[in-house]
């Protein structure tokens, strides 16, 4: 039954076989013709069709009708200019979306360009610095450099030492608290420019547990505050001040005595 139907379809296709090869785009037609190519009946049909088509091409076009066949198109093709394309609401909407996405991408890229291990925590602590009031800290009148011993003895925090650049400044208060990831953070308030110092655990490699180190000082910025961060013995130290990097630079460049 299927074979019969297939043969019938092939016969139908052969009856409609194109006169010239340029109409031979259909694969099923090509296949039907290739099967029947040598049959005398099909050859006669093709010769007959070609002769009739040739005769049709001899139909002359009257002069009045030929006037329509000028070089220019009957219906002018509307050229798609850039202007028209840009005015298209769909193109406009897509363009705006692409620009916004690109903007967000660039913003994220630029803002993370100077990231370093622990920069996210440092930014959070700058937020803490902005919202901290002196009464929230335990009063402490000492040199900042001496508080490392206090943190070790009272809170068991090893290597929570203030770097020598800030060790000589006198403090007005300090405290130890846990951040939202239960990491213990030491916060010191200095009399100098109402600067705040933070000491907190450095980031570690999730697989090996090794401390992710970085050399020198790095800056972070958040809500008008700037922090200068350095790493030492698995502990990050940040000096935070309301202002810009210029406010911190003199302390970091201070020559050792």
């Amino acid at each position: 039954m299927k074979l019969l139907s297939s043969m019938r379809r092939q016969r139908s296709l052969l009856n409609c076989a194109p006169i010239s090869a340029r109409q031979l785009a259909d694969r099923t037609m090509r296949s039907a013709i290739s099967r029947a190519d040598n049959s005398a009946e099909f050859v006669d049909q093709q010769n007959f069709d070609r002769a009739v088509a040739r005769l049709v091409r001899f139909i002359s076009i009257p002069a009045e009708s030929a006037e329509w066949f000028s070089e220019k198109d009957l219906v002018p093709v509307v050229k798609r200019t850039w202007k028209n394309m840009v005015r298209n609401p769909a193109v406009l909407a897509i363009s705006i979306a692409v620009v916004v996405i690109a903007g967000v991408f660039v913003f994220n890229f630029v803002s993370h360009l100077h990231d370093f291990p622990g920069s996210a925590t440092a930014r959070k602590l700058l937020g803490v610095a902005g919202s901290t009031r002196p009464v929230m800290l335990d009063p402490m009148n000492a040199e900042a450099g001496t508080l490392g011993d206090l943190f070790f003895m009272k809170h068991g925090l090893e290597h929570y030492d203030v770097p020598e650049e800030f060790a000589d400044f006198s403090t007005i208060g300090c405290r130890v608290f846990e951040d939202d990831e239960s990491r213990r953070v030491a916060q010191i308030w200095l009399a100098e420019k109402r600067m705040q110092l933070f000491l907190f655990p450095a980031e570690r490699d999730s697989k090996t547990g090794a401390v992710l180190q970085f050399p020198g000082w790095r800056y972070v910025h958040q809500e008008g505050w700037t922090g200068a961060v350095t790493e030492h013995s698995g502990v990050l130290f940040m000096a935070a001040v309301r202002g810009g990097e210029k406010d911190l630079e003199p302390y970091l460049l201070k020559p050792k005595e």
């Binding site: 019938r8 379809r9 016969r11 139908s12 296709l13 009856n15 409609c16 194109p18 006169i19 010239s20 109409q23 031979l24 785009a25 259909d26 037609m29 005398a40 009946e41 006669d44 049909q45 010769n47 007959f48 069709d49 070609r50 002769a51 009739v52 088509a53 040739r54 005769l55 049709v56 091409r57 001899f58 139909i59 002359s60 076009i61 009257p62 009045e64 009708s65 030929a66 329509w68 066949f69 198109d73 009957l74 219906v75 002018p76 093709v77």
Partner: protein, 160 residues
């Protein structure tokens, strides 16, 4: 405009084959193009391909509706002969057009579109709104009838 440019000389030939009369063919051809120009000016051109041919076909059918219709008689049919080519060559294009235009539609449309050698079979099915089996039947029958007519018009010397 559709991607494939509408071939205007072929459009005229199509009208001529459908109507078998140069004057009528010109009228339909001009009416079709005028209508197309008006629609283009309004920006209402159809997006489907070969709409000019489809439009012209309906105009041709409409133009012949009021004409005297040929009696529906069973025409002779003959197998296509190996030497039919020479018989066709002796025909005048006008004679062929008159013969095709006398065929009942949709066979007339099928023959006119097919012998324009402008469209593949799927395009003809689309323009003439036919199924493959119908187009095949009309073309096969048309060939056999045309062969019979050629035989009667230009009898071949009998082979001994």
């Amino acid at each position: 405009m559709p991607e494939r440019k509408q071939n205007l000389p072929q459009l005229y030939r199509f009208c001529f084959l459908m109507l078998g009369d140069s004057q009528k063919a010109q009228e339909v051809f001009h009416a079709t193009l005028r209508e197309a120009a008006v629609r283009a000016a309004r920006g209402e051109l159809p997006s489907e391909p070969f709409w000019l041919f489809r439009d012209a076909r309906w105009r041709c059918l409409d133009a012949t509706k009021s004409d005297l219709q040929p009696e529906s008689i069973e025409m002779d049919e003959r197998d296509v002969a190996p030497d039919s080519e020479s018989q066709v060559q002796r025909l005048d294009p006008m004679q062929l057009a008159i013969w095709i235009s006398a065929a009942p539609d949709p066979q007339r449309s099928a023959l006119a579109l097919f012998y324009l050698d402008e469209f593949d079979y799927r395009e003809i099915l689309d323009i003439a709104e036919l199924k493959l089996s119908e187009l095949s039947r009309f073309l096969a029958k048309g060939r056999r009838q045309l062969q019979a007519w050629l035989d009667s018009k230009f009898p071949q010397p009998s082979k001994v």
